[in-house]
């Protein structure tokens, strides 16, 4: 398998090695090593949780920049519906469409329009007698990756129809070829304006196979500021209007996709932890009589993506206002069947990411060791060792990636024992009397191999 291209990255110079992201990572993909975070490419699902919680702005989403427009003769913008909820006091989506054209795009194809087609196809798909229920939405790439890692039996449930952005890209590409037959493939730029890094990974890893027409993925955050600039410059009413209806725009928030199946046997969840619980219950056959399951890794749905600007719930309120006088679903498929080009050729592959060893005998041996090491660890999951939990730390030790003396609680205990055995003065007395000790204790934060703790003998360096 080709190496997975991730879209969550780390700026080592900004990372302080604090443990905030460590604990928020739903797949335990992060460790703190040598004073900064390290992300496991195997376990990372590009959910962007670490980007959202990092106070030092050290975690970043990798995406293309708007300068990508220079590469093409004909540029089409594919704005995600969540983009529409980013702007305050904006009562007409036409402003955004005109703004995108002012930024240099030749055409705009709203992803919301394609979403309405996907909703129509979903309604057809779930009526088929040969599909495994509940059908799980394929729109959130983080969820699809989670399923590929942990839920082999649910792979079949994932809807094989391409997500709206791919269909938008396909249609935009077709349209570009029709209006400008003289253009070569390289001259057409299809640029997705994305709310989340997971979509960047999805595109960069060609998850939609041959049918990937998206050439670049830029972030809503980047586009937001450029758009604000151009939108402010024009005060006249835009002549552009949105071609989407309320169903398409509804896809930006939790429940939008699910309610569009026009059937009450659906479940819509958001937040990665909630989604994991739902997947576990479906996997245990504990949720029955559902036709459709919509899972969004981000709180609030796509409006909660790590590359958005507005708070997801504020964005949702704005979208509600924008949806108000829109038709239900002006985009309807031409046929009563689902065109083959709208199916994803690539099915999800089971790729267990947490395997201890390919050899089960070795894996069992490692597991026994992990269990016995775990017994001697404090069990407080403090994260000081660089692992998110004592259990993960025990695993790291057995994998040879960590050393037990990195546990500060154990080291503290040993240190106290040492003080007692050597009849040393209490730590406070020592701190008060020994300037060198004090200095080394404070320097401990920066000292390499800090795990060995403050050095009572004096200088740390």
């Amino acid at each position: 398998m080709a190496e997975y291209k991730h879209s969550v990255s780390l700026d080592v110079s900004k990372c302080t090695g604090c443990t905030t992201c460590l604990r928020r990572c739903p797949t335990e993909a992060i460790r703190i090593r040598d004073g900064h975070a390290v992300i496991s490419p195997v376990k990372c699902i590009d959910c962007g949780e670490c980007i959202k919680v990092c106070q030092h702005k050290a975690k970043k989403a990798v995406h293309d920049s708007l300068s990508c427009l220079e590469k093409y003769k004909y540029k089409v913008a594919l704005p995600a519906p969540s983009l529409y909820g980013q702007f305050d006091h904006m009562d007409n989506i036409g402003y955004i469409i005109r703004g995108l054209k002012d930024l240099g795009f030749d055409d705009v194809f709203e992803v919301a329009c394609a979403a309405e087609l996907v909703s129509a196809y979903t309604r057809l798909y779930i009526k088929r007698s040969d599909v495994k229920k509940p059908v799980i939405s394929s729109a959130c790439p983080t969820i699809s990756r989670m399923i590929s890692m942990n839920y082999p039996f649910l792979i079949e449930n994932v809807m094989p129809i391409l997500p709206p952005v791919d269909i938008a890209a396909y249609l935009a590409h077709e349209h570009a070829k029709t209006v400008h037959p003289e253009l070569s493939e390289e001259e057409i730029g299809i640029v997705f304006i994305s709310p989340c890094p997971a979509k960047v990974s999805y595109v960069k890893n060609d998850f939609s196979g041959e049918r990937n027409y998206i050439t670049d993925v830029v972030s809503i955050r980047d586009v937001y500021f450029s758009l604000l600039d151009v939108m402010k410059k024009r005060e006249d009413e835009p002549l552009e209007t949105t071609e989407s209806g309320l169903i398409g725009i509804g896809w930006a928030t939790t429940g939008g996709e699910a309610t569009a199946i026009f059937n009450e046997r659906y479940l819509a969840a958001d937040g990665i932890e909630n989604c994991i619980r739902v997947l576990d219950q479906i996997d245990n056959e504990d949720i029955t009589s559902l036709d459709f399951v919509e899972l969004n890794a981000c709180d609030g749905g796509c409006v909660g993506g790590a590359m958005t600007v507005a708070n997801p719930y504020i964005a949702q309120a704005r979208l509600q206002a924008l949806k108000r006088y829109l038709p239900v679903s002006p985009n309807r498929p031409a046929s009563e069947w689902i065109p083959t080009e709208f199916f994803n050729e690539n099915s999800i592959e089971y790729t267990p990411a947490h395997l201890l060893s390919e050899d089960r005998r070795i894996a069992r041996q490692m597991m026994s060791e992990i269990e016995s090491i775990k017994e001697s660890l404090p069990g407080i999951d403090c994260g000081s060792c660089g692992a998110p939990t004592c259990m993960a730390f025990a695993e790291d030790i057995v994998r040879g990636e960590a050393n037990v003396d990195e546990c500060t609680v154990i080291m503290k205990m040993l240190f106290h024992r040492y003080l007692e055995e050597h009849k040393e003065k209490s730590v406070l007395d020592k701190l008060a009397s020994d300037a060198a000790f004090k200095k080394s204790a404070r320097a401990g934060e920066e000292a390499p191999g800090n795990a060995s703790g403050p050095n009572p003998e004096g200088e740390a360096e």
Binding site: N150, P152, F153, N284, E285, Y350, H354, R360, R364, M367
Partner: protein, 140 residues
Amino acid sequence: MSEPIRFHYDVDGENFTSAGEASVAVKKKLRQLGYPPDVIRKVSIAMYEGEINMVIHANGGAADVEVHDDKIVIILADHGPGIPNVELAMQEGYSTARDNIRALGFGAGMGLPNMKKYTDDMKIDTEVGVGTTITMTVNL
């Protein structure tokens, strides 16, 4: 033949919302060990049903899982009321669950039948007023 790896979980009878957590934990372990997905699924479903039963009927109990090379053994032990008529309890749809439990979507009478369906062997030791121990085996 190597020693089995043993996992022990206390199933809290007071907290309905945490029911099912032990089976999720075991599923995670088995994935790490690289057991085949269908085996993991059988263990997970059977154990989940058993766990829910212990919470509903017996105010919790203990779940012990032995992971062998060639099989996985799940032992669910409680000090609940016991099952007066095992044959009846094994019938699909038979349920003694109270309305408040049914309101949560449980008590459909599929617990024990499902446990049997997803395991290769199931043994029920039960005594009224003393408790129940269910031993389930999933072979590889």
